[in-house]
Symmetry: C2
Subunit: 202 residues, 2 copies
């Protein structure tokens, strides 16, 4: 009895698909579906349209690998951005996170993952060749390796550094240290060691 349909299969299907979104479970998906149905004109219709537009228009930038509705993407085609600095990230979500921080007026390169021999992900599965091409085309003076501080991320960073050796480009990486607002007591030893090693004058 517990899983009887409370509405037609169309509504059930909407709930099931919403439940696949990150952050929504089966219960909150029901609430979201009902909210959408109740706010049909204000929310359901525009959201259905926005998704239709996304289906038709969203593409992957052939230069940097981010997702956008134009190719080259908004960032790659922005003339006000510094073309000499390329920040290398694993995923589009990392690019978005760095853009939210807004610290650099740079361009990006999305690798599409990290090297992971155990999962069968080698250099050819990432956009590393394209990155080398961008550097070889000149005009780039610094590559910032903004990969995650995981084993796979660091392995990928080392591989890219090797590939870039001999090219006229500075390779940097993100600083390790104490997160802003973080409490020392909750930090792991590795982070504390890095934060002490890289201490700066106050």
């Amino acid at each position: 009895m517990a899983n009887r349909a409370v509405a037609g299969p169309e509504v059930e299907r909407l709930i099931q698909l919403l439940a696949k979104l990150p952050g929504l479970g089966p219960r909150s998906a029901r609430r979201a579906a009902l909210h959408l149905i109740k706010k049909k004109d204000q929310l359901l219709v525009p959201l259905a349209q926005a998704m239709g537009v996304a289906v038709d228009r969203v593409t992957v930038c052939q230069t940097c690998g981010t997702v956008d509705t134009c190719d080259p993407c908004t960032i790659c085609s922005d003339p006000r951005r510094d073309t000499a600095t390329i920040v290398v990230v694993e995923d589009v979500s990392d690019l978005w996170a760095l853009e939210r921080a807004g610290a650099l007026n740079c361009r990006y390169h999305v690798l599409g993952g990290t090297l992971s021999p155990l999962d069968g992900i080698g250099p050819d599965d990432l956009t590393i060749d394209k990155l080398i091409e961008r550097v070889a085309a000149g005009d780039v003076s610094e590559i910032v390796l903004a990969v995650n501080a995981t084993v796979e991320g660091q392995t990928t960073a080392h591989y890219i550094t090797d590939r870039l050796r001999g090219m006229d480009v500075k390779v940097t990486r993100l600083a390790h240290g104490v997160p802003v607002g973080g409490e020392l007591d909750y930090l792991d030893e590795g982070t504390l060691v890095q934060a002490l090693k890289a201490r700066t004058s106050f």
Copy 2:
């Protein structure tokens, strides 16, 4: 700098609309949008279609007031359901919650809210007249008032009971008591008083 567009306006609009869903904030809406874009064929396309279908097909049942893709709704047109019992709820979400519990094989009546003179909501703004009509048409032996245990819910329950007086129908309400799995220490005095008053033999 912090709010620079990271992708075209179409993607930003999708994120803004997703952020309006209950359970999703601005940050999780970004994650959801990226998830949708990455899983274009598995999720974005079917979800856009499901929403389109919902826009076209979802309607309000003219009998009970729930939302469904057919009218009369799946529940009202189900011949296996007991037509003699009508469970009265404030909102479609309450109907769905009761159906999840699956305790009664009944029909429902969605009021569309509660009486609230301060907010200008009177009997004509709810579907109370339609409920009276359903009872007057005969065939109904019990009305279960499954309204919320709030002041407005109880006021509405009393009003409906008054309107049903003199009609050949039993009016019942949900039991008050300790929630299953609940700890007495965290319960309010009102609930404890009701639970003690309605104690049953063990």
